[in-house]
Amino acid sequence: MVKAGASRPRPRVWQLWRARARRVPLHTVVVGLCLLWLVPAVGLLVSSFRPPRLAAISGWWSALAPPYQFTLENYRAVLSAYNMERSFLNSLVITIPATVIPIMVAAYAAYAFAWMRFRGREPLFTLVVGSLVIPLQMTLIPVLRLFTAFKLVGTFPAVWLAHAGYGLPFAIYLLRNFMGALPKDVLESASIDGARPLAVFFGLVLPLSIPAMASLAIFQFLWVWNDLLVALIYVGGTPAVAPMTVTISNLVNSLGQNWQLLSAAAFISMALPMVVFFALQQFFVRGILAGAIKG
């Protein structure tokens, strides 16, 4: 504003500045909220590089002024001494199969719901829509007993299967809506030309559904990677299988005030989903819109 007054501007420039000044509150609110969203996470990142001695006595913001004292020691400590290295690996081993398994299962079912006529199709799909909101809590005890009977408690396959089952209603729902919207004439003319359903599915429906499947894969990946409850129930007591969410929630209790260690552990768990998020944000957003607005 100082500049506008100092250079004695022509009227048009003056009006331009006035219009801009009117927008100052707008920018203040938007930028302010963005900062409110970012600053807590930045604090975590900064703390994770601070020496324990300083982290205990001063706020993380004081590390932003000289003398700069940063260290990688916290990361070394949580990775080796607090089981985070193993937990990171466990999170990967849990998440990747638990993402891959349900997608194809859901795609088969979605194909049947979208393009085959059969008795009971509508009620059955209504059941799928209804099951979207069933609280997981309704299933925990019987499934835990089932896993106990099959000696699966505390194993990777238990978490894979549980996540595959829990992720299925949303996966079927999303893919069925997407496949149902594919051009009818293309699929029907392929059938008239004598293409078998197997060829129609793998040759036409599946390739055309790749965008929806990509959204779904990102969803399922983030949901499984960030899950606490399912892992806590089915593998919680087994450190050799426990993912990072379970390990960190234990560290919160055992490490208490050691913020530099807790923040390093938390940041290790956030790094991969943030990379996935930034790289594939468009698919993620598209999936949310398809899942929510269309249904």
Partner: protein
């Protein structure tokens, strides 16, 4: 087979191969059966893997939980509605119900209105997509990590000591005479401190959906209102809000379910201490600390009953959409 990496690789190659093989085999069988049977069987065979998983992990367990809720702690003797009577009169549980109501009202209300407000505001700035990404970012991280982030923000040191938690440090610096607050142990603030974390995570979700719907309102409509002398405020209440009402309902129902199921944030940050208990955490405690499977099941059933209205709204909306398809 005990090496997790080997196990994962076997699963990653084996499972897709089995899934592909399944489709080839069922279509092979269908080619060999009479045409009438082929038509009847085909959909069910394509549905079968999904129906199996859904039966084992959702339908059967849900029904079985209802049954367990009427048995005693070890699921041995039938006790009728005793578990429900206990759960509905138990002090901790009633507290949890109260807190879930707080979540329901404040988490849902603030997240929807903040999302709506932000959608309208970012629509008017040039750095819209950057702002949206920033607000949306917490959606990518776990509630556990968010819990650590915010526990640190809320960190409390006695008055006079140097505050290392951002919130207390900021308030003591900004307001002279401000006494630091133990946000997560103070009975007046702790539930709201937890709800704020939920809001921080989920506003991005609400913003992205509402913002997409906002873009769907024809610019001419709002322009015409301005020409006719309507203020921005009137435009918001008379045009934007009514047009977005169905989308707002979609966002609200999703958030209501989240509020009812609130667990991770509470488990990590306070574990229900200092009157912050929620229903889902109560169930976890009955299940793993007290080992009373009857009561735990009764809590789960009550949680389910609370979600039924949302389920009905969702199914109705789905039917309406199918009708225009």
């Amino acid at each position: 087979m005990n090496d997790p990496v080997v196990l994962a690789i076997v699963a990653l190659i084996g499972v897709p191969a089995a899934q592909l093989g399944y489709a080839v085999v069922i279509e092979g069988i269908l080619e060999r059966v009479p045409a009438r049977w082929e038509r009847i069987l085909r959909p069910w065979l394509w549905l079968a893997p999904a129906l199996c998983l859904l039966s084992v992990f959702l339908v059967y367990p849900a029904l079985h939980t209802v049954y367990l809720s009427m048995l005693d702690a070890r699921s041995a003797t039938f006790v009728g509605v005793n578990n429900y009577l206990f759960v509905l009169t138990n002090h901790d549980m009633l507290l949890a119900v109260r807190n879930n109501l707080l979540w329901l009202v404040f988490f849902t209300g603030i997240t929807v209105s903040a999302g709506l407000l932000l959608a309208v505001l970012v629509d008017r700035v040039r750095y819209e997509s950057l702002a949206k990404s920033v607000i949306f970012l917490p959606m990518a991280i776990s509630a556990v990590a968010a819990g650590v982030i915010w526990k640190f923000v809320y960190e409390f040191r006695p008055a006079g000591a140097s505050q290392i938690g951002l919130l207390n440090a900021f308030l003591t610096a900004a307001l002279p005479g401000f006494r630091p607050v133990g946000w997560l142990v103070n009975l007046l603030t702790d539930n709201f401190a937890l709800i704020a974390v939920g809001v921080w995570i989920w506003v991005g979700f609400s913003l992205v959906i509402l913002s997409a719907a906002l873009k769907g309102i024809p610019a001419e409509l709002l322009e015409a209102a301005r020409v006719d002398g309507a203020t921005e405020w009137q435009g918001f209440w008379r045009i934007i809000l009514p047009t977005l009402s169905s989308t707002i309902l979609v966002v609200t129902t999703t958030l209501v379910i989240l509020a009812l199921k609130a667990f991770d944030i509470v488990y990590v940050m306070t574990n229900g201490n200092f009157n912050t208990e929620v229903i889902a955490n109560r169930m976890y405690k009955e299940m793993f600390n007290i080992h009373h499977f009857g009561r735990a099941s009764a809590i789960a059933v009550l949680l389910f009953v609370a979600t039924v209205p949302v389920m009905i709204v969702n199914i109705r909306r789905f039917r309406a959409q199918e009708a225009v398809r």
